[in-house]
Symmetry: C2
Subunit: 84 residues, 2 copies
Amino acid sequence: MDPLVIVGYLAGTLTTISFVPQVMRAWKLKETRDLSLAMLLLFAAGVILWTLYGTWIGSLPIIAANTITFILILVLLGLKIKYT
Amino acid sequence: MDPLVIVGYLAGTLTTISFVPQVMRAWKLKETRDLSLAMLLLFAAGVILWTLYGTWIGSLPIIAANTITFILILVLLGLKIKYT
């Protein structure tokens, strides 16, 4: 596999899975007070545009990473709303 | 300007500035308990690789967004360590 694609997937894997411990923490603590709602909303809007950008330039790492990140951000948004 | 580049910059601006309200919230509340340290570390590693990927494919939106995001994540990491 092209090393460029590997770095892209590794980057996407890291920034995507980084939200897993955050979701788990919110889930476990049942606390999201220190999480900024504005951050989650802006980030969600951003990953939608990144997915569009990735589709446009034909970059599968960008499309895949941002689609999964979007789902995790939606879960965090749900937890933020539930526990606020 | 190429609409593709505009979407890229808009995406990068959103995901980057999203960390500003998060930094402000941690700063104001002096509380970062609900922020996951693992999230911050994984995200920081990811944006370093995204910057490398952006440099490789010659995408200025990716390089710019991830460089600034990295700085904001470093500030959040500092606040997380300070207030834990």
